[in-house]
Symmetry: C2
Subunit: 365 residues, 2 copies
């Protein structure tokens, strides 16, 4: 433990600059804020005093004239998700190429924290917003609408928000899920579990109710479940509510939920996981029941990760193009900041099913 005292000199205030320059605070504000009328001599005196005292140039005041602070505000539902951190890295790199810095807030999938994040970023005068919203369909998104109305360009990433007419960069989650589940059906699987469905207190009792739940779900959750339903329907397979989990999104809940499904009298022979935590939970359940993969149980999931390829067996996963998504979103928000007022665009980036060895033919009954 150090014994030296920490230095905490107060940052010079506008009052101190005013006192040092022998002028009033309003004059300092006008000079440093670059507005109103200030004589050349007074301006020089204020700038000299500000420099001597180490006054931090007030970026916001300077930006009052240009309106540009050269920063993007990024709001992510969960920066701890490797998908989002990969996207963020690409956004930051692309922004940097144009001289912009990206400042980030993570909302932990909490809409209340998202409202705070938007408020903070607007107060920090960011030039544009890139948002992966935590809003479910039907949730109040007035905080996003207000930012757009105020003239702050916004690009949605990973998740659409129905009521907002802004640019978006997403993958076709429904198609990706349909193809993954379809590939398991093609290998003879008839009982395919889905972890996770949307979190609900009362799980769906039938397909109709499931569709009503989907109408209120997070866009990407809903799309992935729709893709699962599409694949079943194309193959003429019945939908069984017992094969969709509706638990809170953590690994322990996923483990318990998948364990419960594997204990059914007519258990699934394949599992489709829609998130990394669901994949880890499913793997834990499979290990705890000593099921051989893929001989006794198949698994395909979102998203591909470096560790998925070194698992035994290596996991078949859906890869999202994180770099492409982030770079596209950043390029789009920079175009809007530059004044592009063309109609809102939806960019759909390709995803890829990476076949490895966690899925195989269905075991014989």
């Amino acid at each position: 433990m150090s014994t030296e005292r920490q230095r905490h000199p107060a940052a010079p205030t506008i009052s101190e600059v005013a006192a040092a320059a022998g002028v009033g605070r309003a004059t300092v504000a006008r000079t440093l804020g670059n507005y109103g009328s200030v004589s050349d001599v007074t301006r020089a005196r204020v700038l000299l005093a500000a420099e001597r005292l180490g006054y931090q140039p007030n970026t916001l005041a300077r930006s009052m004239t240009t309106g540009i602070t050269k920063t993007l505000g990024i709001v992510l539902a969960d920066v701890g998700n490797p998908f989002f951190s990969g996207v963020l890295r690409a956004i930051a790199e692309t922004a940097k190429g144009s001289g912009y810095d990206a400042i980030v807030l993570s909302t932990n999938e909490n809409l209340e924290l998202e409202r705070d994040a938007i408020r903070v970023l607007l107060a920090k005068q960011v030039d544009g917003l890139v948002v992966a919203s935590a809003a479910g369909r039907g949730d109040d998104v007035s905080h996003l609408a207000a930012a757009v109305d105020r003239g702050t360009p916004m690009v949605l990433i990973d998740r659409l928000v129905d009521s907002l007419e802004v640019d978006s960069v997403v993958i076709d989650n429904r198609d990706a899920a349909r193809r993954a589940v379809g590939s398991m059906i093609a290998q003879g699987h008839r009982r395919i579990a889905l972890a996770w469905g949307p979190v609900t207190l009362s799980p769906a009792t039938d397909l109709d109710q499931m569709h009503r739940i989907l109408d209120r779900a997070l866009w990407s959750d809903g799309e992935r479940l729709r893709g699962y339903l599409d694949a079943l329907e194309e193959a003429g397979l019945p939908f069984d509510t017992a094969l969709v989990t509706h638990v809170l999104k953590n690994e322990d809940q996923a483990t318990r939920a998948v364990n419960g499904m594997l204990a059914l009298a007519d258990p699934p022979t394949a599992i489709f996981t829609t998130e990394t935590e669901a994949t880890v939970g499913a793997l834990r359940a499979i290990r705890s029941r000593n099921l051989r993969m893929p001989a006794e149980i198949s698994l395909i999931g979102f998203d591909d990760s470096p560790w998925a390829a070194v698992m035994d067996p290596p996991l078949t996963m859906i890869e999202q193009p994180m770099r492409h998504l982030g770079a596209t979103a950043a390029a789009q928000i920079l175009r809007r900041i530059d004044g592009d007022e063309s109609p809102a665009e939806r960019h759909i980036a390709p995803s890829r099913l990476i076949s490895r060895s966690s899925d195989g033919p269905a075991p014989r009954a």
Copy 2:
């Protein structure tokens, strides 16, 4: 693709508010900035006009009086590292509990980007900084020193920076590495590889040169390697430069480097990895050579992750207390913002070696 036009009304400027209120810009600035003298009637007129036009309250101007913007600036070396995103989540939660928001910039282990990040956060008037610096020992850290001199409280997290007399929150990396390597030595291993050592163009030729390299390395890299050397020395084992990688820090490089070591005439029987990417690279190399773990090769690494426990075999890993580190750093910076001027403190958080099944007795020669 949508065909509706996107709305981009310009954000109202201070000039527009002035025009609407029938006063000068300086008066608007004084009113909204809450300084100087403005009559009650004029103040009401300005506030009414600002509200009608949807003028965003200028947080910075308001903060001129209090000096507090209720935001923390977080600078992380790599937000894509699950360790840092876990730390960040704990910082944000603790800060929120005191009404503070945490805004983040990630530097990709690049000191130039770190300088930019500090500049951006100071310009955004954060009340305090939490920094995991990309600086190696001997690197220029004047950007950090300048922020401290200016009076912005700073807490270092995960990595110390020798020349800064500020609070820090770290684990004892040296001791954690010493214990992990020591446990492999206790199981009979004599040839233990380390992935990664510090990145260098010319790898160490002997122990003396290795110590000179360590004097310029990133603090945490250096400490982990020192712990490895400690364990060898305690057991009277010789140091072999061929068993330490000095490659660029990505999985492909780690794979090649570990493969190279496994191909030696006298290969290692155990591997100690200091980062997740090194662990993944080592696993790839082990798989590609069809080595059985732990019968033919043992592995222990930093940091524990959810997927480590579902590997086959489950991996023995060092767990860092991400929540504890983040919460402690946030609590400390909030105390400094509240005016605590006691001497700088170094908090050392406990780490834990989680024994699973990737390490075992050394194979017989």
